[in-house]
Amino acid sequence: MTETREVTAERGPFFFKRELGKEEGEYKLVGREIERPDAFSKIMGLTKFTADRLTEDVCFGKIVRSKYPHALIKRVIVDEALQIKGVLAVITAKDVPGENQIGYAIPDQPLLADKKVRYIGEPIAIVVAENEYAAEKGVEAVKVEYDPLPAVFDPLEALKPEAPKVHEKGNVALTTIIRKGDVEKGFKEADVVVENIYYTQRQEHAYLEPEAAIAYPEGDGIRVVLCTQSPFLVREFVSRVTGYSQSKIKVIGAPAGGAFGGKDDMGPMVASKAALAAIITKKPVAIILDKEETFVASNKRHPAIIRYKSGATKDGKLTAVEIEIIYETGAYANRSPFVLWRATVHSAGPYVVPNAKVDGKSVYTNKVFSGSFRGFGDPQIHFAAEQQMDELAEKLGIDPVEFRLRNVLKEGTRTVCNQLLEESVGMEETLKKVAEAANWKKKREELKKYRKGSKVRGIGVACAYHGISTSRGVPDWSAAAVLLNEDGTITYRSTITRLGQGSLIGHAKIVAEILDIPLEWVHIEEPDTSASPNARPTHGSRGLMTGGTAAADAALKLRRTLIKLASELLNCDEKNVKLENGKAFCALDPSNKIEFSELAKETYQRGYQPAYYGFYFVPRRYFDPETGLGVAYCVYTYIANIVEVEVDKETGEVKVLEAYTGADVGKAIDPGLIEGQMQGALAQGIGYAISEEVAFNDGKIINPNYTDYIIPTVKDVPRKVKVVIIEKPYSSTAFGAKGVAEAALIPTAPAIANAVAHATGVRVRNLPLTKEKVCFKLKEGKK
C-alpha cells in the first residue's frame, strides 16, 4: 500500500494565527458563541421556506404512486384524468425528454416507473393541474394496470437463490470487504471471544417541512426553488432528466425545515419532477409532498443485520474482529455504495484492531429505498461494535470506559483499514472528559443501589468515530465567493444550504474574522447555482469544514489585497499593516489609519481586484477497494456519549434521564451552534434507540404519520444534557475545524442499550428498544 501524501496548503490553527497575527484568544468571532443572525426572521415566520413562495399562478403536480410492491406495469390510462377540469397534463415515463434515470451511484432507478414497480409508493405519473384539488382528483382518475409479481420483503429471504429478483442482475446491489492481518491468529490470541447478531430498523427523518420544489420556466431555461442539501446535484439531475444543459438550469436552495440527509436524496427527485412538469406545461409548477407521501416514498435509514465476532486478551486488548454486514437498500441502491462503505470502514469502532475480516452486502427488497440519514451507515455499525465492547469488558471484568481507553485510536495508530492517523485524533481525551463530566465511576457504582422495585437505573457508554467528507479517495472539494462592495460590506456566496444547522453562519464568521470586520457586514446570499460557486453538498458533516475552508481561502485572498492596498495608502510596510475592527492602520503609528469603507472604495478606484473565488480540495490518498485498506477519510470526528437510564421492569419502558455527549470537533467555530447540533442529534438518536421504526405489512408502510411513528417530544428527552467540546485541530482546514452535525447521534443507541444492560442485566440487540422487546428480554432473562 502506498501512502504518498497529496500536497495541500497547510491551513489549520497555526497558519491562521500567523496569517492574522493573533493569538486564538484574540479572535472576536471564531470560537465564540454568537446569537444567530437569522433567529428573528424565523421567530417572526418571515423566513421563506419553499411553500412560503407559492403564488396564485403556480400550478400543482401530484404523483400517481404504485399500489403494488412488485409488479409489471401493463398500461397507464390517463384519459379520464385529462377530462377533469383544471388538469393540464399527465406525465408518464414516455414523456421524459432526457434520461428517465435518477440512480445516484448505480443507474437502477427511473424517475417515473415504466416497465416495472419495485415498491409501494413508487412514482409512475405526475398529474399537473391548475390547483391542488384538481391534481388530487386527477391522481385518483389515473388507472394503472399491473401484472403483480412475487415480492420479497426480507433481506435474508432476498439472498436466497429462489427469491424473486428485484433487479435483473440479482438482489445484491454491491459488496464491500476488509482483509487485514490474520483473523484466525487473532482469535487464537484472544482470551475472550464474543459473537452476536444485531438488528437495526428503518428510521424516517421526520423533518417537519415536507419535501417541496417549485419550478418556473424562464426564457429558454428553467429555475427551480427547493429545500435541498445540494443545489448543484439537483441541477445535474434536472439536466439529466430534462435534457437541458446545466447552464440553462438555475437552482435556488431555499431554507429547509430540517433535512438530516433526507433532502439530500429527495431534493433531486422532487425537483426533477417539478422541472419536467413545468417544461411540459410551460407553467410554474409546485410539487409538495404531503406528510404521508413523505413517510411512504422518501428514503430511510438502512435497516441492518450485523453478525459481529470480536476477541480480546485478558489484559484488555482487542485482537480481532470478524463482521458480516447486511444493509437493506430496499428497491433501489441510491446512496448504498457510499453508506455501506462508510459502515465497513468504521466497523471496528474507534479502536485499534490488528486483525479484521469484514464483509458487507447491500441487498435489494421490495420496500421503499434506503439512503442518506444523519450518520450515514455509522449508527447501525456502532450499535453493534459498541455493545460488543461492553460485553468483552464485562467478560474480562474491566470497566467499560477503561476497556475502551486501552484500545482507542490515537495519533500514530492505524484504523481497521490500516489508515495511519497522523493528527487530530481526540478519542481518548473526548472519552475521558465525557466520563469525568458524567462522574462515570461513581455513578456506575451508585446506580447499583437502584436495583430494587420495578424501576431500575443504569449508566452506559459508547464511543464512535465518523469520517468527514467523502470516503475512499473519492475527490471532494468546495468553493465560495467573497465580494467586497464599494461601501465596505461583503457579499458572500456559497451553495452550502440552510438546514437549520447554521453552516453558512460559520462561514460568515470565518470571513469576518479574517477581515476583522463586524459580522453584520457580511451578507449571506441565497445559494444559487447560477451565481454561487459550487460548494458541493451539505452532507457528511462537511458544510463547515470544507465550505468554511473555501470561504477562508477567498477571504484570505481579499485580506492580502487589502493589506497591499492599505500599505500603499498609508505609506506603511505591508508587514506592519493591521486590519482591525473594520479599519486598516499602521502598527508603527495607529493614528495612521483608514476606514474599511474607504479602503473598499479605493480597491475599485485603484484597480485592485475586489472579489475572490475560494477553493478547497480535500486531501486524499490511496484506498484499495479490493482489500478495503488505505486512507478511508482525510480526517475523523471522535465522539463519546454516556447516558443514564431508568427502566420500568413492569412495562419495559426505557427513559433517558441524563446524557453527556462529547466530540473532538477540531476547532469550534461556534460552540453554541455545536451544542445545538449535538443536542438535536442526541434527541434523534434517542428516538432511533427507543421509539422510531417504520413498520410494514406486506411491503406497505402502516405508520406513515406522527401519530403512529413516534419521534421524541419534549417529554422524551433528558432534562439534563451536557455537551463537551474537545478541540484537536486539523491542519488542513480553516482554523482546524472538522464536522459535527452527525456526531452525537451515532453512539446514542448503543450507549442506551449498554445502560439498559447495566440497569437490568439483559441486553437488547435489536433496535428500537421498545417496551415489548425490553419486557420480553427481561422475562427471558428470568428463566
Partner: protein
C-alpha cells in the same frame, strides 16, 4: 379546495384587524391563513394535528389550525406571531429564543412560541413539568428541545 359548494361569509379578528372573507366550508383555518390571507408564520407540517407547526391562538388558546374548519372561526379572535409585536410576553420569548439558540431550522418556532406564550400568560413562574406540558404538542426535530426549554425559563425570569 375548489369544490362547488356554497361559500360562507365569515368575519373574525386577525392580529387585531377585522377580516371579512368568503370561505368554502371545507377550508381549514390554516388554508385560510396561509393561502388566502398570506399569513405565513403558521406552517403546514402534517395536516393532522400531530406536529403543532400550524399552531395559532384561537380566542387566546393554542390550537392546531389545520384541524379547525374556517367557518368555525366566525366571530373569533385569531392571533399569530405577526400580531404580537409589543406584547411583553412575546417580546421576552423572542429575545430569549434568539439568545439561547433555541432556533435551528425555524419551522416549528412560531408555533412553539405561541404555545409558550399561552403558558407564560397564565403562569408567572412555570415549573419544568408545566413547560413540558405546554409545548408537548409542538414537535421539533432539530434542537432536542433543550435550548427551547431554557429559553422559556429565561423568558419567565425576565418577565418577573
Amino acid at each position: 379546495m375548489q369544490v362547488n359548494t356554497q361559500e360562507i361569509i365569515i368575519s373574525f379578528t386577525l392580529n387585531g384587524e377585522k377580516v371579512v372573507k368568503n370561505v368554502q366550508p371545507n377550508w381549514t383555518l390554516l388554508d385560510l391563513l396561509r393561502k388566502k390571507l398570506r399569513v405565513r408564520s403558521p406552517k403546514e407540517g402534517c395536516l393532522r394535528g400531530d406536529c403543532g407547526a400550524c399552531t395559532v391562538l384561537l380566542n387566546g388558546k393554542p390550537v392546531n389550525s389545520c384541524l379547525v374548519l374556517a367557518p368555525k372561526v366566525d366571530g373569533a379572535t385569531i392571533v399569530t406571531v405577526e400580531g404580537l409585536k409589543g406584547d411583553p410576553v412575546f417580546e421576552a420569548l423572542k429575545e430569549t429564543f434568539a439568545e439561547k439558540g433555541a432556533v435551528q431550522c425555524g419551522f416549528c418556532t412560531p408555533g412553539m412560541i405561541l404555545s409558550a406564550k399561552y403558558l407564560l400568560d397564565r403562569k408567572k413562574n412555570p415549573t419544568q413539568e408545566e413547560i413540558e406540558e405546554a409545548i408537548e404538542g409542538n414537535l421539533c426535530r432539530c434542537t432536542g428541545y433543550i435550548k427551547i426549554v431554557e429559553a422559556i425559563k429565561e423568558a419567565a425570569k425576565k418577565l418577573i
